[in-house]
């Protein structure tokens, strides 16, 4: 996507983009990072360190109340945040983007039906659905959480894509394609959807931030992945009990969460701006 | 308007606005867009000035620079614009606040976007009156009704209760004019006031502006891309190209003999109802110049049928013609239209096969003698 070309990133936006890259690479290649500790290794059980250690050269961010290395848990915890948010973004933009673009273009009964379904899902309390599914399946692993959050992400993407497709459909190049005799299906894939993508991309970045926060909130409530798997949210939750003794185990994951969400918003804004420049030039 | 080089010698009592070497630049990532590149003119009280140019000529930016309406940290304006004895370019924004509406007002191109869609027309007119003149609500309402009457809006009481979208484009432009006139400004800028309107409505609006201008002895600057609009309705005309004035003259003198090749080309490329159907148009070849990196020499030189080597290196100054010419008719050209130098330059360019000269060297009368040059030389 050429959306970034032609507009300059500010220094600050570069830092934000850099942070996101570090997080993603860290999460993917966590096992290969030299010197990174095992996130579930409880050192004090083996006489190797203590609980709630302050930051030191050995544990750069200290240890938590189970004597686990916080840095390692943050790097591995990013996996949960990223998998959940990526699933949501991919499911949302693929299914939501497609349905939205489709109904925005063809309108009529298809539009009414799909948008009615979307409104029903939007009206349904997500937490209740999550609890129901988790209870029915009897497990709470990453896949289940990601799938449910992903399913709930489809409606907002559908709405965004539909609004964009409505606007794109009114452009004269769509009329021109019809006048040429292009089939409707081809128009949808060649003319409508590509022109919805920049808007969807910008929305996806902001939405990813929302999902990361949502996962954090779910984990804090104990509804996300089961311990001992690290996630930023359940790290904060676990640190809560010892907050009076040691604040670091709560601060580090919170900072990671804040930086990541802020960076996503900042980079998303940048993309949207550069896209605005592009459409103004068009 | 008088010749720009004599702005300080004109009677200060009559001069309302004197602009000297105004330059406006917009900084964008790609570079500095030099939208207005040194414009000088003066306008007397009660006179009308037409500013004509195509998109990118700087005509709208010029008007907005004088009104101080170019907002943004990336805009720089230099030069002076002396309005009623004060340089408006050096006024603070709170001092400008007293000028806007009271002394200078503006009517914009798009009557749809220049009214707030969520506020009833009446409140938009009366609020303006009350904030500027400090009159009571009842008095403002009375004035609003008489203003609407004046701009010939039928049933003004009912219209004041309407929302902008309930009115037609012409009606909305009348409302905008009423708002602009509300505080009796001494100078009215009309920036393409009829471009968004149909031709019959354009006619009504231009008549309305002309009548108000005369009745109020108000000075008016009419910015337009349409030579037809300035022709019958202005005292003086500036023709702008690439941020500079290329020709400035009393309107009648300008149309009697256009001296700058660009003005001539603009007029000749217009289809006219007085011409027979299928009359070949003398199109201007090429495209307007890049304002970030304008051509050296005369900006029109790459498209000019009269161009000489000198034009490509040296910027021609704005001067008047020799004896026998209108002393108020100035143009910026080394080989002006209608001069021996011009005729010679054109003949030379035609015989050299310069595309822009060949393209306008049309056989007169007989349109059948194909193939004619199209003015469609390659421009990518």
């Amino acid at each position: 996507m050429a959306a970034g070309t032609g507009s300059r990133m500010s220094f600050f936006t570069r830092i934000c983009a850099g942070w996101l890259i570090v997080i993603v690479l860290g999460a993917i290649f966590a096992d290969l990072i030299p010197g990174l500790k095992d996130p579930n290794y409880q050192g004090f059980l083996f006489g190797d360190g203590a609980t709630n250690e302050r930051p030191s050269w050995n544990h750069l961010m200290g240890t938590d109340n189970n004597s686990r290395d916080i840095l390692a848990r943050i790097v591995y915890g990013a996996r949960v945040s990223l998998v959940v948010s990526m699933t949501a973004v991919v499911m949302g933009s693929v299914f939501g983007g497609f349905f939205g673009a489709l109904v925005g273009f063809v309108r009529g009964k298809t539009d009414a039906t799909i948008m009615a379904a979307v409104d029903v899902i939007l009206a349904f309390p997500g937490l209740v659905l999550l609890l129901t599914v988790v209870t029915l399946l009897g497990r709470r692993d990453l896949m289940v959480i990601a799938a449910v959050v992903g399913f709930l992400s489809i409606p907002p993407y559908t709405r965004v894509a539909r609004a964009t497709a409505l606007a794109v459909s009114r452009r004269e190049f769509v009329m021109a394609a019809r006048a040429i005799g292009t089939r409707k299906r081809t128009i949808l894939f060649r003319e409508i959807i590509p022109n919805c993508l920049p808007t969807l991309m910008a929305f996806a970045l902001v939405n990813a931030a929302v999902i990361i926060l949502l996962e954090g909130a779910l984990a804090f409530l104990g509804l996300s992945v089961e311990p001992p798997t690290a996630s930023w949210g359940n790290m904060v939750n676990a640190a809560r009990v010892d907050l009076t003794i040691n604040v670091w185990p709560a601060i580090w994951p919170s900072l990671a969460l804040v930086f990541t969400v802020y960076s996503l918003n900042n980079v998303g804004d940048h993309l949207r701006r550069s896209k605005a420049v592009r459409s103004a030039a068009l | 308007m008088t010749d720009s080089m004599q702005t300080d010698s004109v009677d200060p009592g009559r001069t309302l606005l004197a602009v000297d070497d105004l330059r406006t630049t917009f900084s964008i990532p790609a570079g500095d867009v030099k939208a207005v590149r040194g414009v000088s003119f003066s306008l007397d009280r009660g006179r009308t000035l037409g500013i004509v140019g195509e998109s990118g000529s700087g005509k709208t930016v010029l008007a907005r620079s004088i009104m101080r309406l170019n907002i943004g940290s990336n805009v720089t304006t230099t030069g002076t614009a002396t309005f009623a004895g004060r340089d408006v370019l050096s006024l603070s924004m709170s001092e400008m606040q007293e000028q806007w509406g009271m002394e200078m007002a503006m009517v914009f191109q798009d009557p749809v976007t220049s009214l707030n869609p969520l506020v009833r027309v009446g409140r938009q007119v009366t609020e303006h009156l009350r904030s500027h003149l400090g009159v009571s609500r009842a008095e403002a309402h009375k004035t609003a009704v008489s203003l609407l009457n004046e701009v010939r809006i039928p049933e003004p009481e009912a219209r004041l209760k309407a929302f902008p979208h309930e009115l037609s484009g012409g009606m909305r432009q009348r409302i905008c004019i009423a708002i602009a006139l509300a505080c009796e400004p001494t100078l009215l800028f009309a920036d393409e006031p009829t471009t968004a309107l149909d031709v019959t409505v354009q006619h009504q609006i231009l008549n309305l502006l002309g009548r108000e201008q005369r009745d109020r002895d108000m000075a008016m600057v009419l910015v337009t891309h349409d030579l037809g609009v300035v022709a019958g309705r202005t005292d003086d005309t500036l023709v702008m190209y690439a941020g500079k004035v290329v020709e400035q003259s009393p309107t009648t003198s300008l149309f009697a003999s256009m001296r700058h090749p660009y003005s001539e080309a603009l007029l000749r490329s217009l289809p006219r109802t007085s011409h027979a159907s299928h009359t070949r148009l003398a199109a201007i070849t090429g495209r307007p110049p890049d304002l970030i990196d304008p051509p050296s020499g005369c900006a029109f030189s790459p498209r000019c049928p009269y161009v000489q080597d000198r034009c490509r290196d040296e910027v021609p100054p704005l001067t008047t013609g020799g004896s026998g010419d209108d002393p108020d008719h100035a143009f910026a050209c080394f080989t002006p239209v209608g001069s021996p130098e011009g005729a010679e330059a054109f003949a030379r360019n035609v015989s050299d096969g310069l595309p822009q000269a060949v393209a306008v060297d049309l056989p007169t009368g007989d349109q059948m003698s194909a193939p004619l040059p199209t003015g469609n030389e390659r421009i990518v």
Partner: protein, 334 residues
């Protein structure tokens, strides 16, 4: 005007397209409809340029789109040769689209910003063939060259790298690459600067001669329409007022609306006295609830009771000059 009637239609063997009693209405909610086009008839002879002129809201663009069935008219007939286009299924109509092509007002908006120029001009070929890539490229290059765009420089660029005039050229290239019979030009120059407008008008004239095109030229600018047309039809509020050859129409306007339009044109000549007395109370009536009888009567200085009661029919006032008015401004040759 409300002009109905078919006195101005020509014999079948001369015409390429014949439109009869065309009606296009759009629902706007609460059971109301906008009567965009209300029963107009006209024909287009092979090789001629028909100018459709009128102000915004007169239905001229809707008429143009009805010719290519986008959308299909509410009622009426559009006959192309022997084929009744309104009877065709969507798929059958799609297969005929190469015969009738269209270019639009906004040259930049009519090109997909995310595709390259080469790709855009080749699109019709991808639908209709030839499917051979090299053949497609050769055709695209030839067409771009014909409209004055250097194919080698332009092929891989995106539309936003071009000016409005160049985009309109690219648009023209796309519509002509399938070799259509009829090209509908919907306000093709109204978004362009004067100097560029002349280039495009000249180009259309040249291409018309070179490719033997028939044109429908829709515009609000009477001077532009006069310049390109062989026959001009004036529309007002969904009806046809007057049909005539351009020189005849502009010299002897018979309909009061045509006269009003002509009188409103700002002439670039200070010697022409601006007619401030031109009678026009100005407001276009609503197309949801148009006036009875002649639709122009609410603005017409010559209107009488008859104009409210009875819709005027097209009649000939001079050879090839038809007007739908009870009180035409020229003597009627009975």
């Amino acid at each position: 005007m409300a002009g109905s009637g078919k006195a101005h239609l020509r014999p079948d063997d001369e015409v390429l397209i014949r439109v009869e009693d065309l009606v296009v209405e759009f629902p706007v909610g609460r059971g109301r409809t906008v009567k965009a086009v209300s029963g107009i008839s006209f024909d287009i002879a092979k090789g001629e340029t028909l100018g459709l002129v009128g102000e915004s809201g007169c239905g001229k663009s809707t008429t143009g789109r009805a010719l290519i069935q986008l959308p299909s008219p509410t009622s009426g007939s559009v006959r192309h040769g022997l084929v009744e286009l309104t009877d065709l299924s969507d798929e059958a109509m799609r297969r005929r689209r190469t015969d009738i092509q269209m270019i639009f007002q906004d040259p930049i908006s009519s090109l997909n910003p995310r595709r390259t120029v080469g790709d855009i001009v080749a699109e019709p070929l991808r639908v209709w063939g030839p499917h051979d890539k090299a053949e497609q490229k050769a055709l695209v290059d030839r067409m771009l060259d014909a409209v004055g765009i250097d194919p080698d420089a332009a092929r891989d660029k995106h539309p936003h790298e071009f000016s409005g005039g160049q985009c309109q050229r690219i648009s023209i290239a796309r519509s002509l690459v399938v070799d259509p019979e009829l090209l509908i030009c919907d306000e093709p120059v109204s978004a362009l600067d004067v100097s560029v407008q002349a280039q495009i008008l000249n180009l259309l004239e040249d291409l018309k001669a070179e490719y033997g095109l028939t044109l429908v030229f829709i515009a609000h600018d009477l001077a532009v329409v006069k310049n390109v047309s062989d026959r001009v039809a004036v529309m007002y509020l969904g009806k046809l007022c007057e049909v005539a050859g351009p020189d005849e129409l502009y010299a002897n306007a018979a309909h009061p609306y045509t006269a009003l339009l002509l009188g409103s044109i700002p002439e670039p000549d200070p010697e022409v006295v601006v007619d401030e007395g031109l009678v026009d109370s100005g407001e276009l009536p609503s197309p949801i609830d148009p006036p009875s009888g002649c639709r122009f009567r609410t603005r017409c200085p010559h209107a009488t009771d008859r104009c409210a009661a009875e819709e005027p029919q097209m009649r000939e006032v001079a050879e090839g000059h038809h007007v739908a008015c009870h009180h035409p401004l020229v003597a009627v040759a009975e």
